[in-house]
């Protein structure tokens, strides 16, 4: 893409572009309107801009939306969309239609650096941070865009490892001049990169979903290398610094691995760790990935676990599994087969 994309710029960035071109200041608000309320795909579609303004804009910019390359549909209605990034890499987004809500699960990075043992995305390594344009394009270019009720940042990548662009995209989704969505329609996940998570908590109003998967340091280290640096204990300590109000939700995601993290001991550990945090817990069935040493807990164990936690006052649900047959389910997104081999390593 040779021209710079307008889609993905915040109002203050649009103001700067407009000023640069010597256009009247109000043009920026008009552009934001065309981009984020009407989702036009060309500058020429911005018909209330002067012809001169459109010509000037066209010289340097383009809207920068790119439709998905392809999609797969699951028997349960889940659709997995493949999007190309501006440098010809690929990401996936999963559309999950339900009776009362339609959720899009979007990616924040191509690949991921975090190396969680149970995750397909981890296996492809890290390729790049998505720009705010590429993050939002997953929403804007979705054929079902206008039916969406919710967006979750739970696709490929760790959102807090690309915090600048994630915050920018959140600003555009929630601002009056943007999509003007309530932040309560958005849920951002993290494995607990604490400094960036603090920024997210302070600068956004969206819900926060923390991938926990074990309350015990030694065990969580085996599943998630981040635990060596930012422990679950420190993470919960950080959460205690904030007042989340009544509307904002903190949830803990807990993938259940057979014989690993699904015992009564773990229920106790969770209760101890989360003591005093107003939160809910989502139990997730593990979708085995190729050559994985882990297996999913059976549903009976999951129900036992849910009931034990619920009895102790933590709202706990078993998340319905979606799109497993097309590898669109949680932790299964990967575009590894589309990557070029990199032979330049030091090991």
């Amino acid at each position: 893409m040779s021209k710079e994309a307008l889609y993905g710029k915040t109002l203050s960035e649009l103001k700067a572009c407009v000023k640069d071109l010597g256009l009247p200041a109000f043009t920026s608000k008009q552009i934001a309107d065309w981009l984020y309320k009407k989702h036009v795909t060309t500058i020429d579609d911005m018909t209330n801009l002067s012809k001169k303004a459109r010509i000037q804009l066209n010289e340097k910019y383009e809207v920068g939306l790119m439709p998905p390359q392809s999609f797969q549909e699951s028997v349960d209605g889940t659709k997995k969309y493949l999007y190309q990034t501006n440098n010809n890499q690929f990401i996936e987004a999963a559309y999950l239609p339900e009776e009362n809500r339609n959720t899009l699960c979007i990616s924040s990075q191509v690949g991921c650096k975090m190396g969680c043992l149970f995750c397909m995305t981890a296996r492809q390594g890290f390729q790049k941070n998505l720009t705010s344009n590429e993050i939002l394009n997953q929403i804007a270019s979705l054929p079902e865009r206008d039916t969406l009720t919710n967006v979750v940042y739970m696709g490929m990548g760790e959102p807090m490892d690309n915090i600048e662009n994630v915050l920018k995209s959140l600003e555009i989704i929630t601002a009056e001049w943007g999509y003007a969505w309530s932040p309560r329609r958005i849920n951002v996940s993290t494995i607990g990169v604490i400094p960036a998570m603090r920024r997210f908590i302070e600068e956004s109003e969206a819900h926060l979903a923390i991938s926990l998967h074990s309350p015990f340091n030694e065990e969580r280290k085996q599943l998630m290398p981040i635990e060596n640096v930012y422990t679950a204990e420190k993470l919960v300590e950080a959460l205690h610094d904030y007042d989340f109000g009544r509307q904002r939700r903190i949830s803990f995601e807990y993938i259940m691995f057979k014989g690993v993290n699904d015992s009564a001991q773990h229920v106790k550990g969770l209760l101890q760790l989360l003591n005093g945090i107003k939160c809910r817990i989502n139990l997730i069935h593990f979708h085995p990935i190729p050559n994985s040493p882990l297996e999913g807990s059976d549903y009976k164990t999951m129900e036992f676990f849910r009931d034990k936690l619920s009895q102790k006052g933590i709202t706990t649900t078993i998340r319905k599994s979606r799109g497993e047959d097309i590898y669109a389910a949680c932790g299964l997104l990967s575009t590894k087969k589309l990557l070029k081999e990199n032979s330049d390593t030091d090991y």
């Binding site: 600068e203 065990e219 090991y347």
Partner: protein, 221 residues
């Protein structure tokens, strides 16, 4: 808003800045805190900057605290950090982290500057019954090799992908692991370095029969 600044940073005096090879520096500063070998500190040029994390690369009883890093030319911190002089001030956090590598027998695996925590562990005399494998692209990237060789003897193996020498094995660390007939499957494995290395090595170890709960990794993300 940032009323909860990430970590309180403390001003420390730079003692030395040693260039180990083209773009790799070993910086020592005053040691205001005690720490455990294997821990990290956050480092910044100014107290208001977003700090970056570094493994402590010196022993717990040493007078000074040191880090080992390579310069990312486009990076925010490492270019200015690479030109600090004795007497300059930089900012560091209290040590933290749990990559303590306490179990043995163990195999420690590092690439590049991922050797840093293992240097600290060896200098802290916490390297009993361990094998250290280090992978690097060129021969000058085996930092502190004389010291490690002296301390660990044959339990220290170097793998160089582009150059050959008497003391190193030519080729990739991953090829060595893949071709190894008798990897000790009951050892603890501690991995430190880039995310891609950790993922590749972990996959090989698991395929070789090492249980996932015997593999612990620190990723320099």
């Amino acid at each position: 808003m940032n009323q909860h600044k990430t970590k309180e940073l403390k001003a420390v005096n730079v003692i030395s800045n040693e260039l180990l090879t083209d773009d790799v520096h070993y910086i020592s500063v005053d040691k205001p805190f005690d720490f455990k070998a294997g821990q990290v500190i956050a480092v910044a040029m100014q107290p208001t900057d977003e700090p970056r994390l570094y493994s402590i690369a010196s022993g717990i009883s040493k007078k000074h605290l040191s880090i080992l890093f390579d310069v990312k030319p486009e990076g925010e911190l490492t270019p200015p950090l690479s030109v600090v002089k004795p007497g300059d001030t930089i900012y560091i956090s209290e040590p933290f982290g749990k990559f303590l590598c306490l179990d043995s027998p163990a195999t420690w695996i590092a690439t590049g500057t991922g050797i840093a925590p293992f240097i600290s562990l060896v200098e802290s005399k916490q390297a009993n019954n361990v094998n250290l494998l280090h992978g690097a692209r060129t021969l000058d990237k085996f930092f502190f090799q004389d010291y490690l060789e002296e301390q660990l003897g044959n339990n220290y193996q170097r793998f160089c992908t582009t150059e050959a020498s008497e003391k190193t094995t030519e080729g990739r660390l991953t090829s060595y692991l893949k071709n190894s007939e008798n990897l000790p499957t009951n050892n603890k494995y501690y991995l430190c370095g880039s995310s891609q290395m950790v993922i590749d090595v972990r996959e090989i170890l698991i395929a070789k029969g090492v249980a996932f709960d015997n593999i612990i990794a620190e990723i320099y993300f």
